[in-house]
Subunit: 493 residues, 2 copies
């Protein structure tokens, strides 16, 4: 165990290796023996549960209900929406048989050729098709709309190169699918969910995000508009953290979801879909953590406070236990999750390093001398600052400190990001500077050709037309053609 | 919509049709266009979420942590444990390819033959194999034990005949998988989880269950002991509602999960697994519901109280709205979920029938006359009894009524079950009476031959050796051989 605390590669040496090692050493997730599929370990899953719980409350507050739709999708469903099949059919797990049988040598199993499916089934890469195929039975009149369903589930996209949380063949996510009677209402819903995601990222994950709209090339397969939140990692790369799609009537038409509108005319229903995934875990880890390990925002930390006793005798430990019991009780009553680690098998120094690695926001240490003096040592994980404070009122102190940490790591991430956003009007300069990361605000002529050239030359992509930036027309730095506005261009995960 | 309220087959006419219709009409679930896979609709899913939430708390109170393991399992993993492969390999969805491509006529997609997997992957029918393959990396010493993991997920077993919630190809469940340093600790955990399930069924679902241990024939594939809870439905059939397995060292050995024990010797880890599924929804529905629709236990009802206004003018409605707002606010503050349905498009009679169908435990109706008199009408769903009570103190009245309903439906189910448990010592009598349902307490000689004969003659099965019944040795009614104890025999879902 102790070895796991050592040897975390420094970010400055190899940011990518630092991330990969951190995810494993902090026991968040690991590769399984199934290609591209991860195991999410209890500590990682506890963070995901917190993310789920808070997002779920936010969804429900907007009228969304949860439901569950089948894992498997008939192959023909994918072909119904032309762009959708292009976007998803290429990378999917295909179920062709429904039985195994004992092999001839009786030492294993083989696929039973007699159990071949008439039509192959696809493990859902996303569920628009199966869900809209269901909605057609739910909708007769405008009175049956809107439908506001979400599901928390697993999905699968066959990825060639995978990284824990960031890109895995199987991942966990939520996918919301709404059906509306009017175009306006659907567009409003798509934007509403973008803001739900952005608020969640900023308030809970302490991750500042840029809200914007994708270029046509980067849209979801089958969407008329894709809204996105983009976060900046510590290496200056963008991480797309959530998307919300206005799908127009594409799926309503493909699956014949018609309703009688207020004018007594048949009309196709208007659609949105929106999702965030376990990829958020990657954003959370990469935004705040440091060379000592994880830094977790207090609002999502499964354990917010850990208390470690420092003692030389059982008698001292007994006295500390008694004092700490009261503190734990008080903190829990305030809604703060606390762990008291009086495990006798590990030394304090080991525990300190372990809890730093695990990103527990606040560590308290208390020894015999502290008991005499009425003091306790407080360490905050974000800055690693230590101070000794009065044990009297420690609960209120900790409560305030947790909020300070939450605010501080957000501010730190925001300062980092804002100091790495550059306006740039010269393509040669851009090509050079983009290699060091950062978000570049550049005028774009709106053509896929320019977009493709930038990607080819630099591997950077147009992340979005951002909201919240003052926009003036200008000249595309690549083509020299007129441009209506600046877009965010960055290298991305 | 109104048509859905009509035409629910009566239980006495066709119990099976009644159930199938009820699940659909109450909008709990429906068949999808994917063979054997269901869509769980928002109202059904809201009940499942309540089940999940309460069970999850109970698990965590015993030290269990949630985690997530891959959906897909390499085919060869299944073969590692000999009995396990026999039990599960025959009915599973097999992934053989990882890509589709556009067909020659460019109007659809086909499986890309170049994208054939070297080894087929199975959609998990249960996860012992993939999880124990993971545990081998987590365990070195007895200090790393126990491991107490649970996952909430989907699983798939290819079923030929499916029924919503009771038997579907894909279903949702939780599966707990624990690893222990000693046999005793593992056996204790397996029994502990059985009691967690039983307590949940009785306290939340208001479903009385018989706890017991399965015969060897009925054990989980790979288990040394399977503990079960068995509930009786209104047709006298048994529904196995949850199982907990003591797996010995079978999976430890199959996946080489060894640890250094306290005596510094290598030993294989001891295992349990335990699960409940969306099948619980079937038990919940079939135990309490009646010819008017669902009857939900207040502890799991997504909406516990519905309030319907009776009015002739907007003015009357306004006055009622004002009064009801206070009641809603007070009920919510007491932790009671309440819906006020002042939708002007539907008449009260329609709403009454709809909420009866949906099983809302308590319905309040309030009219202009009530406002004058300071009264309100209360209807309890379990008995359909109505009474008019003072509006003053209605909140406390409702709170008590919800607890009364919870206790009453449990008692009703318990009385029904207990009056349908029969001791029987004569096989001819048994063969005749079993056709009418009920649990039969019969002496059994412990042989699979007798068990098989009973099943062949009557389709009834040994559900378990029950706990909580006084046991005396006797004579097996089939073979005439000595029998140590009585078992529960019943027809089952």
């Amino acid at each position: 165990m102790a070895t796991e605390l050592k040897g975390l590669t420094k970010r400055s040496v190899n940011y990518s290796a630092w991330y990969n090692e951190l995810v494993v050493k902090a026991e968040l997730a690991e590769q399984s023996d199934v290609r591209g599929c991860m195991v999410i370990r209890p500590y990682g899953y506890a963070i995901w549960e917190k993310i789920q719980s808070e997002l779920d409350k936010k969804f429900k507050a907007t009228g969304v209900q949860n439901a569950y739709f089948p894992l498997l999708i008939p192959k023909s469903f994918l072909s119904r929406e032309a762009e959708h099949v292009e976007g998803f059919a290429k990378e999917c797990a295909v179920v062709t048989h429904y039985r195994l049988k004992t092999n001839d040598t009786h030492d294993g199993v083989v696929v039973d050729p007699d159990a071949k499916l008439d039509e192959e089934l696809i493990i859902r890469p996303t569920s628009e098709t199966i869900i809209w195929n269901t909605y057609k039975n739910w909708v007769k009149s405008y009175r049956d709309l809107p439908i506001l369903c979400n599901q928390w589930c697993n999905v699968m996209r066959w990825e060639m190169r995978t990284r824990l949380f960031l890109r895995t063949s199987e991942f966990l996510w939520q996918e919301g699918h709404t059906a509306h009677a009017t175009r306006e209402e659907a567009e409003e819903r798509a934007k509403m969910m973008l803001h739900v995601y952005a608020d969640f990222a900023e308030q809970y994950m302490a991750v500042p995000v840029i809200r914007g709209v994708k270029s046509e090339t980067e849209r979801f397969a089958g969407a008329l508009d894709t809204y996105t939140i983009e976060a900046m990692m510590q290496d200056g790369k963008a991480l797309q953290s959530g998307t919300s799609h206005f799908l127009g009537q594409n799926f309503g038409r493909a699956f014949n979801v018609q309703f009688l509108n207020r004018d007594q005319k048949q009309e196709y229903a208007w659609a949105t879909s929106w999702g965030v995934s376990t990829r958020l875990m990657g954003a959370l880890i990469m935004t705040h953590s440091d060379d000592n390990g994880l830094v977790l925002p207090p609002h999502l930390a499964p354990i917010q406070v850990v208390i470690v006793p420092i003692y030389k005798s059982q008698e001292q430990l007994n006295a500390i236990d008694a004092k700490v019991e009261t503190i734990c009780h008080n903190l829990q009553a305030m809604g703060i999750s606390v762990k008291y680690d009086n495990d006798d098998n590990k030394r304090p120094g080991f525990k300190f390093a372990d809890y730093e690695l695990k990103g527990i926001p606040v560590r308290l240490a208390i020894g015999a001398r502290d008991l005499e003096n009425g003091t306790i040592e407080v360490m905050r994980r974000d800055t690693l600052e230590k101070e000794t404070v009065s044990i009297e009122g420690i609960e209120a102190y900790v409560q305030k400190l947790l909020e300070d940490i939450q605010a501080n790591i957000y501010k730190k991430a925001l300062n980092f990001r804002d100091s790495h956003i550059y306006e740039c009007d010269n393509y040669d300069e851009f090509k050079q500077r983009i290699q060091d990361g950062g978000f570049f605000l550049c005028h774009w002529d709106g053509t896929p050709e320019t977009e493709a050239k930038i990607k080819e030359d630099t591997q950077a992509t147009i992340r979005c037309v951002p909201y919240g930036f003052e926009q003036t027309p200008g000249t595309d730095m690549v083509s020299g053609k007129p441009a209506k506005c600046r877009v965010i261009i960055a290298k991305a995960y």
